[in-house]
Subunit: 446 residues, 2 copies
């Protein structure tokens, strides 16, 4: 990997040397330090690239950087770059730039590119159709293998992939698919109709991107056809776009788990206000829910006034309860998401988790009992036992609730990633405090 | 999608009807209900499948189910299924089954398959070489395009992909790569040496799987060559295996975030003991860290004995502090993982997060102040103000620590996903309680 310093040294040399250097190193080498470069450096690199490398780089950059480069290019160079970008990348670009840049870009597109872009802009960007390219290779069922192969060779450059050939009827309906491999493995005089696979796996234009990703994964496809309600082929989604969808889905899930409104906006490009908006709603809901603990605690005021030492363990009890419910719920939520566990497995899951909870409870209860006796602050054996027993009980309840809530929420039909954490945090805090002070009342006779 | 009931109705019909039905529906239809089937039903379906479908199904099932099916098959059928499985799938299978089954399977392999499996078993299963297949298509630099194409057509069936052709020298060193598309787009009499790409993107055998995934993604490759230290080609990793790696990585990250030892074992196949082992170490570490709050609280005993109402807000203060640090740290950890944020951005990140913390603190402080005055339990204005001001300060500190810790941990060179959560939970609890009681002392004059 080239370092930023190395790149800057080459930038200083400039001219022919810079061009030769950039032609030698892979694009990822300057792409991964792009955010470090000044606007001038970005333009210096971009203008030293070959025309093809410019297109590749443009397609790989985030919108803000694309905008800078395209507005700096002369009319002719901009036209070339825009013409060569994949139609799906171009559409994304046009959707995200500022209105002024959009207008300037639109004026430089060829009539064909405008038509293609207009077609793609019709679809929702979160649907399968929002990430498809209309550049696929179609053949007809009554062609021979030799004819189809000759057609592929004549059209090998333009489509996004030539490794899947889609067989369309007279009205563009998708009736079969042949891989280039099958075509090559067949005899020249065979008909496409004889070798094509008629059971085509496809998705509808309004299929959610993430569902499209799962379909491509299940069938190990390298490209997935997107059809309209009449089964007419609109375009194809390729595996590289699906990998992007999986990465974005991953980011969204992680954000949801941390009680934030999910988004795939890049951190460094988000304003302070964007960040606040993403976090404030959940933080407020969780805060209001947490204040219910105030009410529960005030019900037990007489208990901890009588034995203030009990107060000292409040954070430990509810913190550990929270940790064990998070462990259980995360495990279950993830297993539900990957399809390893189904809602109907609830009996077996609960059986397992309750047993796990009891074992964890015994271990942690013993640990906290020993710790309380051995280390300061000083507590009596009975007080240490109270904390140990209460903690064990809290862990059993927390593990069970942690496993049960996501299954219940998913059975109702809601995504457990969003709702489980805040709901559980509240339930566990309230239940934990109640268990703790009830145990104290019983054991310490308060 | 076929439902379980539909599948069972067809199973009851059996014989020719079942075979015709299974030939019609896609494999995913019975694969997604496989865990619901009895052993007998599994075998009935398996034995009604075409030989190719058996191989596909076997390669897609988890090890436990593979074992059941393979032990039930007669010698000849088992031999066929094993022979047709992809070498990487077969190696995985052999690594996971019980020793008795392994021995029986080994006895049924052809000498070639044994050699291939022995070769693959040499590599670590977490490395790039652990997921590669040795079945690639190699050509030589001085072939013409026509010769290379004829070679591809004669060998179109066996390799895992024929869409990337690897150019090897006399001692199997990887000197170039040509896509089938480039080959098809070139003239028949061109030499491979003239059209091949000499800057081959490859990974070393001991490259971590996840790094291999990132390389394939960055360059939008459909297959990634794996080479040894002498640049000799060992095998290739294809995009479908990379998608599996990304999914597994996702599961591991989610587990780490919830303070569990990461693993990709399937939940339903994990024993209670597996689950306990995964959770107990972190739970114990977090518990011991949490008990430090006991010591901090005992230092402030005089404060909350004088105003027991302060005790009521302990869970709210530390809970909200925990939530805001989780939000900040998750956002930063994820952005570090995707490469959007680098350790060197620390100045800008901290500037942003401190501002966000102040805004969130003001909002939440006001909210908890209003809530305390308006709803029971009854508190004085000064007490409500203490809670509000302390909460605001805790949120500023928690957000800052939440953003700073993962950057610091990653700068040291440790994966922040594992260490950040427990470390921060402890720091925030201790800092939160200290801030709260210091504020109380100052404002309430205790």
């Amino acid at each position: 990997m080239a370092t930023l310093d190395e790149l800057r040294a080459q930038l200083a040399r400039g001219g022919q040397n810079l061009r030769a250097y950039l032609a030698e190193i892979p694009m990822a080498d300057y792409l991964h330090v792009w955010s470090e470069l000044t606007g001038e450096e970005e333009i210096a690199i971009f203008s030293s690239l070959s025309p093809e490398a410019r297109v590749d780089l443009m397609s790989s950059l985030p919108p803000r950087n694309q905008e800078l480069l395209i507005t700096d290019l002369s009319g002719e160079s901009a036209r070339h770059v825009l013409e060569e970008m994949e139609p799906d990348d171009l559409t994304d670009f046009i959707q995200t730039v500022s209105p002024e840049v959009r207008e300037a870009v639109w004026g430089r597109l060829t009539p064909d590119a405008r038509d293609e872009t207009r077609f793609l802009l019709r679809f929702d960007e979160d649907d399968a159709a929002g990430i498809m390219t209309p550049r696929y290779l179609a053949i007809s069922a009554n062609q021979t293998v030799a004819q189809a192969l000759a057609w592929v060779r004549r059209n090998a450059v333009e489509p996004e992939t030539i490794y899947n050939l889609y067989v369309l009827d007279g009205v563009k309906r998708l009736i079969g698919v042949v891989s280039l491999r099958e075509l090559l493995a067949s005899d020249d005089q065979d008909r496409v109709s004889a070798i094509m696979n008629r059971r085509v796996i496809s998705v509808r234009e309004d299929t959610d991107q993430e569902e499209a990703a799962r379909t491509l994964e299940t069938y190990d496809l390298s490209a997935l056809p997107v059809v309209d309600t009449h089964n007419r082929l609109l375009g194809i989604v390729t595996f590289d776009d699906i990998i992007d969808v999986i990465r974005e889905e991953q980011t969204e899930d992680v954000h949801k788990m941390a009680a934030m409104t999910p988004s795939t906006d890049r951190y460094m490009e988000s304003s302070v206000w964007d960040l606040v908006k993403k976090r404030v709603p959940w933080l407020a809901v969780l805060l209001l829910a947490a204040t219910l603990t105030t009410n529960v605690l005030s019900g037990f005021e007489s208990v901890f006034v009588a034995a203030t030492v009990l107060t000292l363990f409040i954070p430990t009890i509810i913190g550990t309860g929270g940790n064990s419910s998070t462990q259980a719920s995360t495990h279950i939520i993830r297993s539900l998401a990957t399809g390893e566990v189904h809602v109907r497995d609830i009996g077996r899951v609960l059986g397992k988790e309750i047993t796990v909870g009891v074992l964890l409870g015994l271990a942690m209860g013993t640990l906290v009992f020993a710790r309380s006796l051995l280390l300061p602050p000083p507590v009596s054996v009975l007080q240490a036992a109270t904390v140990g027993i209460a903690l064990a009980a809290v862990i059993v309840v927390a593990t069970t609730v942690g496993a049960f809530s996501p299954m219940l929420i998913s059975w109702i039909g809601i995504d457990p990633t969003v709702v489980a954490a805040p709901l559980m945090a509240t339930v566990i805090d309230l239940a934990g405090l109640t268990i703790y002070f009830l145990t104290a009342r019983a054991l310490l006779g308060l």
